[in-house]
C-alpha cells in the first residue's frame, strides 16, 4: 500500500550508501508510510526531508572515514541556543528566497551563470575522475612500474630481461610481455584479427588482479617443457566473440591455427597492457635458447620490493646498463647508450592523456572563476541598490555580523540552486563528452558519477558561494548607515564600490584572455597539423587489413594471393589504383632495424646504421600518391628470382648517402642470409606514426622478394585502393574479394585513410574543441560583465551626466566619457591577461605544434577580439548616456 510522496522518499533513499540501502531502505519506507498515516503528509515532509538528506550525507561521510561519529540531527533536541540559531537560519533563508523571487530576471541571470560554471566543472571533473583519478585496476598500483629502454632500443631483449630479473634487487618481481597479432577462431562469426598479450610467469602476480571466471596461469604452464596451450580471455572479447558464455572455461579456441584451452576471463576494468590485446597467453622463455641481445621487442612490468624504492630501482638499472655497455661492445655502441627507464605504471598508462585533461580542468576552473566574478559583480550592483535597506536594518539594531550572515546565506543559497541546475548541466554535458571523446582516451567507457564527483561539486559550490558572496557582504557591512540614510543611498559610497566592481571586471578580462590564448594556441596547433605534409594524399583511399592463416601459405602462394587480391580490387569500378602494404602510414610502427650498406660487411650491431623496413606491392607509391623523387617504384617484374631491389625514403638517402645519388647503391638487412639489394628509387618521407616530427629513414622492399630481402614475407598486409568516388563505398566489395579468395583469411581495420589520419589526432581535436567552447563561454561572460558594470555606472551617474549636458557637453563627449572608463579597465585587464597567458600557457607547451607558448599572432588576435567585445559591450550604455535628457535627469530627485 503506498502513500503520497513515496516516490520522492525512494529518490532520497538513493542518496544512502548501497550497503545501508540494502539493509534499511524497505524499513525506512515503511516507517515513512506509518508516519504519513498518523501525522499527515505536510508535517511528515517538513521533518523527514531534511532528516533524510542530512543523515544520508552523514552516513556517506561515516563510511568514508570508517567512523560513526557524526552529528545526529534530532528534531527538537536542540538547546535553546541552538534553537535560536536555527530560527535565524530559517529566517535568513526565507528572506533570501523572497528577495530572489522579487527580482526574477536578476535571479535567472545569476543562476544561469552559476549553473554553466558549476555544470561545466562537474562534467569535466567526472571525465577526469574516471580516466585519471580513480585508482588503476591493479593491486597496490603505486609499487608497480613500467620498465623499458630509451631510444634507439625502445624495448628490451630476452637476455636483457633475463639479466634484469636477476640483477635488479629492488624489484620483487619482474615480468616481460609482447603483444603480437594473432587470428582468433572459435567464437561467433568470422576469424578475428586481434592481439594477444604474451606474458611471462610473474605477470598476473605483479598486477595482482583476480580473474572474473576461472584462473590465471600456474607456474608450470610456463615451464619450457610443458605442452599446455592455455589462454585467459579479456572481458570485451568474451562478451563480443563468445556472447559472455558463463561456461566458457575449458572450451577450445584456435589462436592462429593452434588450439588453446580457455582457463579464465578477466574483469572488464582490466585491459593491461593494451586495450587492443584481447587475451593473454603464457610466454615460455627458455633460458637455453634466448634470442640475441640486440633483438629488442619486450616491455617489462615489475613490482618494487617493500623494502626498496623507485629511486633505488632506477639506480640499480643504471648500474647494470653501464656494465653491459662495457661488457657487450658489439651490441651497444658508445654513441647509442643503453638507458633503462622505470616509471610508475600510472605515468605510463595515463601520462599522454594527463596534460590534455588537466588543461581542460584548468580552463573550466577559470570559467568558474569568471562566473563567480560575474555573480559577485551583479550582487555588488544590487548591493548598491540595497544600501538603504541594510542601513535601516542596521539603524534598527541589527548587528553587523547578523547582516553579514544574512547576505552570506543569500549567496550560499544562490550557489546551492546554481549547483542543482549545474548538476543537470553536468548530466547532459558528461553524456555529450563521452559521445564526443576519442576512443583512445583511457577508461572513457567507465565514466560515471561517483562519491568523489558529488563531493567535488559540493566543494566547488561552497567555494563559489563564499567567493562571490564575501566581497559584496564585506562591502555592505562597511557602509556607514547614517550616511546611507541621509542621501537616500544614491550618490555617495559608490566611488569605493565602483573601484571594487572595476577590479572585478579587470579580473574577468584577465581570465578571459588567458583561456582565449590557450584555446587559440591549441587551435593554431590543430591547423598546423591539418596543413602538415603527410607525404601522401589520404583522400579517396580505402584501406583493409588482411591476415593470412599461418601455415597455410608459403612465400610463393602468399605472393600469389596478394597479387590476385590487388588486381581484383584494381578492377573494381571507380578504383584508379590499388596496392598492399605491411604497415599503413600514420598508424604504423617506427621500429628501426640494423642494416649494412654499400657492400661493406660490419661485424657488430653497434657499427651498423639502422632503418625501418617496409614491404609493399607494385603501384603502392602511385596509390598513396607519394611522390617519387628519383628513379622508379616497384613493378611486377621485381618478383622472386629477379635481382633484389629496394626503394629508400629521402630522409634515409640523406643520412646514408649525403650529397650523393643513392640510386645504384646497395643495402641489406643485418645478418648473413639477407641478400644485398640495389636501390632503384627515392621517395618522399611519409609520416609513419601519428603526426610525429622526426620520421625514421625507411627502406621499401617488394612483397614478392620480402621473404629474402626483409627476413620474412608478412602474413598480414593492408590493402589500399584509391577511388575517384566515396572510399567507404568500396568496403563491401573489398571484403567480398577477400572472402572469395580465402574464407579463412581474417579481415580487420576496414577504414578510409582519411579516418586513420583523423583518429591519430582525435584526442587533440576533442580537447581543442572543448577548450574553444569554453573560450567562447568566457568571452560571452566577460562581455556580459563589462556591459553590466558600465551600464550600471551610467544609470548611477544620470544626474551628473544631466548636469554636464545642461552645461553644454556634447553627446559625443559624454559617450567618450563613458567609453574612457571602460577602456581603462579593458587595457589593464588585457595587459594582465597577456602576462598571465605567458605564464599559464607554458603548462600546455607540450601540446603545441609549431607554435610557441607566447605566440605573438595568437596573443594579438585574442587582445583584438576582447577589445572588440569590450567596445561592443559598452557601446550600448554609452549611447544611452549620450541620449540623457538633462531636464528629465535633473528633475528626477
Amino acid at each position: 500500500m503506498s502513500v503520497p510522496g513515496e516516490r520522492l522518499v525512494r529518490a532520497l533513499l538513493a542518496l544512502y550508501p548501497r550497503e545501508f540501502r540494502a539493509r534499511y531502505a524497505a524499513d525506512m519506507l515503511d516507517f515513512y508510510r506509518e508516519r504519513v498515516r498518523n501525522d499527515g503528509m505536510l508535517r511528515t515532509w517538513f521533518a523527514a526531508v531534511p532528516d533524510l538528506v542530512a543523515n544520508a550525507l552523514a552516513e556517506r561521510f561515516a563510511w568514508l572515514h570508517h567512523e560513526a561519529e557524526c552529528a545526529p540531527v534530532v528534531a527538537r533536541m536542540h538547546t535553546r541556543y541552538r534553537e535560536e540559531h536555527m530560527s535565524i537560519l530559517v529566517q535568513d533563508v526565507r528572506y533570501a528566497l523572497r528577495s530572489m523571487r522579487r527580482r526574477p530576471s536578476f535571479t535567472a541571470v545569476v543562476l544561469l551563470t552559476l549553473a554553466l560554471g558549476i555544470g561545466a566543472n562537474s562534467a569535466i571533473f567526472t571525465v577526469v575522475n574516471a580516466t585519471i583519478l580513480r585508482p588503476l585496476p591493479f593491486a597496490d598500483a603505486a609499487r608497480i612500474v613500467d620498465f623499458t629502454h630509451e631510444d634507439p632500443y625502445s624495448s628490451v631483449s630476452e637476455p636483457e630481461f633475463w639479466d634484469y630479473e636477476r640483477g635488479v634487487a629492488g624489484l620483487e618481481k619482474l615480468a616481460a610481455y609482447s603483444t603480437p597479432s594473432i587470428v582468433l577462431d572459435g567464437g561467433d562469426g568470422d576469424p578475428l584479427r586481434t592481439y594477444t598479450a604474451r606474458v611471462s610467469r610473474d605477470f598476473f602476480d605483479i598486477v595482482g588482479v583476480k580473474p572474473m571466471l576461472g584462473r590465471t596461469f600456474t607456474p608450470d604452464e610456463f615451464s619450457p617443457s610443458t605442452h599446455a596451450r592455455v589462454t585467459v580471455l579479456g572481458h570485451r572479447l568474451w562478451v563480443q566473440q563468445f556472447g559472455a558464455d558463463p561456461r566458457i572455461i575449458g572450451k577450445t579456441v584456435q589462436i592462429t591455427g593452434t588450439p588453446f584451452t580457455v582457463i579464465g576471463v578477466m574483469p572488464a576494468a582490466f585491459t593491461f597492457p593494451d586495450v587492443e590485446a584481447s587475451l593473454w597467453t603464457p610466454w615460455r622463455m627458455n633460458p637455453d635458447s634466448l634470442w640475441t641481445r640486440n633483438n629488442h621487442y619486450l616491455r617489462l612490468v615489475g613490482r618494487i620490493a617493500p623494502s626498496s624504492s623507485l629511486a633505488q630501482v632506477r639506480a640499480q638499472v643504471r648500474t647494470l646498463d653501464t656494465r653491459w655497455m662495457h661488457d657487450f661492445p658489439e651490441t651497444y655502441s658508445p654513441d647509442k647508450p643503453l638507458t633503462g627507464t622505470v616509471q610508475p605504471i600510472a605515468d605510463y598508462l595515463l601520462g599522454p592523456t594527463r596534460p590534455f585533461l588537466l588543461a581542460l580542468l584548468g580552463a573550466v576552473g577559470l570559467i568558474l572563476l569568471i562566473a563567480s566574478v560575474n555573480v559577485a559583480n551583479l550582487l555588488l550592483v544590487r548591493g548598491e541598490a540595497r544600501r538603504k535597506e541594510v542601513a535601516i536594518r542596521a539603524a534598527l539594531g541589527a548587528s553587523r555580523s547578523r547582516i553579514m550572515r544574512q547576505l552570506m546565506t543569500e549567496s550560499m543559497l544562490f550557489a546551492a540552486f546554481g549547483a542543482l541546475l549545474g548538476v543537470a548541466v553536468a548530466w547532459v554535458g558528461t553524456g555529450v563528452l563521452v559521445d564526443l571523446a576519442p576512443g583512445d582516451l583511457p577508461r572513457i567507457d567507465q565514466v560515471s558519477v561517483d562519491l568523489r564527483v558529488v563531493l567535488f561539486t559540493i566543494a566547488i559550490t561552497m567555494l563559489t558561494g563564499v567567493a562571490f558572496g564575501l566581497l559584496p557582504a564585506l562591502r555592505m557591512r562597511r557602509g556607514d548607515s547614517a550616511d546611507a540614510l541621509r542621501d537616500g543611498g544614491k550618490t555617495s559610497g559608490h566611488i569605493a564600490s565602483g573601484a571594487a566592481r572595476r577590479t572585478l571586471v579587470v579580473a574577468e578580462i584577465t581570465l578571459a584572455v588567458m583561456i582565449l590564448a590557450g584555446a587559440g594556441l591549441l587551435v593554431r596547433s590543430l591547423i598546423q597539423l591539418r596543413a602538415m605534409d603527410l607525404g601522401f594524399d589520404p583522400d579517396g583511399v580505402m584501406t583493409l587489413q588482411v591476415t593470412l592463416p599461418r601455415g597455410k601459405y608459403n612465400d610463393t602462394t602468399a605472393a600469389l594471393f596478394i597479387d590476385q587480391l590487388v588486381s581484383r580490387t584494381r578492377s573494381l569500378p571507380g578504383v584508379t589504383s590499388a596496392s598492399a602494404v605491411d604497415n599503413l602510414p600514420i598508424s604504423g610502427s617506427d621500429n628501426g632495424w640494423s642494416i649494412m650498406i654499400d657492400g661493406v660487411v660490419v661485424k657488430t650491431i653497434a657499427e651498423a646504421p639502422s632503418a625501418r623496413p617496409e614491404v609493399v606491392t607494385p603501384e603502392y607509391f602511385r596509390t598513396m600518391q607519394t611522390r617519387m623523387v628519383r628513379g622508379r617504384g616497384f613493378t611486377p617484374l621485381d618478383r622472386a628470382g629477379a635481382p633484389f631491389v629496394a626503394v629508400v625514403s629521402e630522409g634515409l638517402a640523406r643520412t646514408l648517402w649525403p650529397g650523393v645519388d643513392p640510386i645504384g647503391h646497395t643495402l641489406k638487412m643485418f645478418g648473413a642470409q639477407s641478400p644485398w639489394t640495389t636501390i632503384v628509387g627515392v621517395v618522399r618521407d611519409v609520416k609513419l606514426r601519428g603526426l610525429q616530427k622526426d620520421i625514421p629513414g625507411t627502406m621499401y622492399f617488394p612483397y614478392a622478394q620480402s621473404g629474402q630481402s626483409a627476413y620474412v614475407t608478412p602474413t598480414s598486409m593492408t590493402l589500399v585502393a584509391r577511388t575517384n568516388g566515396d572510399p567507404t563505398a568500396l568496403a563491401p566489395q573489398m571484403r567480398r574479394i577477400v572472402r572469395s579468395l580465402d574464407g579463412s583469411a581474417a579481415i580487420s581495420r576496414v577504414t578510409p585513410m582519411r579516418a586513420v589520419v583523423g583518429d591519430s589526432i582525435a584526442s587533440r581535436r576533442f580537447t581543442t574543441l572543448l577548450l574553444a567552447g569554453f573560450a567562447a563561454l568566457a568571452l560571452a561572460l566577460a562581455g556580459i560583465g563589462i556591459y553590466g558594470v558600465v551600464s550600471y555606472g551610467v544609470s548611477q551617474r544620470t544626474y551628473e551626466i544631466g548636469v554636464r549636458v545642461a552645461m553644454g557637453a556634447s553627446a559625443a563627449s559624454i559617450a567618450r566619457l563613458v567609453m574612457r572608463e571602460a577602456a581603462g579597465m579593458t587595457v589593464i585587464g588585457l595587459a594582465l591577461g597577456v602576462a598571465g597567458a605567458l605564464v599559464a600557457d607554458r603548462l600546455i607547451r607540450s601540446m603545441l605544434v609549431d607554435v610557441s607558448a607566447g605566440d605573438p599572432l595568437t596573443l594579438v588576435s585574442v587582445v583584438l577580439l576582447l577589445a572588440v567585445v569590450a567596445a561592443t559591450a559598452c557601446a550600448l550604455p554609452a549611447r544611452r548616456a549620450a541620449a540623457v535628457n538633462p531636464t528629465a535627469a535633473l528633475r528626477n530627485d
Partner: protein, 119 residues
C-alpha cells in the same frame, strides 16, 4: 570488548536502548515509545533512527529479532530489533555511569538528592 568501552552513549542511542529494554520493537515503534517517554519533546526521523540502528547493529549492541507482517498489510514484513546480551550490559554500564554523575550533581547541590525531595 568490554561494555564500558562502548560508553558514553549518545543521547539518541541511550534512548533507543532504554526503549528496547522493554522488549523488541520495529523502527516506528521505537519512535512512538520515545515520543511517549519524552512527552513529545523528542521525535526521531527515519534517517537518524536507522543510521543509529546501523551503528548499534555494527557494534553488536542491537540485533534483528525476526520479521513479522505489518499490521495493516499481508505482504509487507518489517524488521524487529532487540537488545543483545552484550547490549544489555552496555546499557547497564551507561546507566551506572549516569548514576555516578547524578550522585555528583546531588553532592554539589545542583539537583536535590532523591531522599531530600521525598522529605
Amino acid at each position: 570488548m568490554t561494555p564500558e568501552s562502548q560508553t558514553p552513549l549518545k543521547p539518541v542511542e541511550l534512548l533507543i536502548l532504554s526503549m528496547l529494554s522493554a522488549g523488541e520493537r520495529h523502527g516506528y515503534g521505537i519512535r512512538q515509545d520515545i515520543i511517549d517517554h519524552t512527552n513529545g519533546a523528542i521525535a526521531l526521523e527515519a534517517g537518524n533512527l536507522y543510521r543509529t540502528i546501523r551503528r548499534l547493529e555494527a557494534d553488536a549492541i542491537v540485533e534483528e529479532s525476526g520479521r513479522r507482517a505489518a499490521a495493516d498489510s499481508d505482504d509487507e514484513r518489517r524488521r524487529y530489533y532487540r537488545l543483545t546480551p552484550f547490549g544489555k550490559r552496555v546499557l547497564a554500564a551507561e546507566l551506572e555511569r549516569l548514576r555516578a554523575l547524578v550522585r555528583l550533581g546531588e553532592q554539589r547541590r545542583i539537583i536535590a538528592p532523591l531522599a531530600a525531595r521525598r522529605a
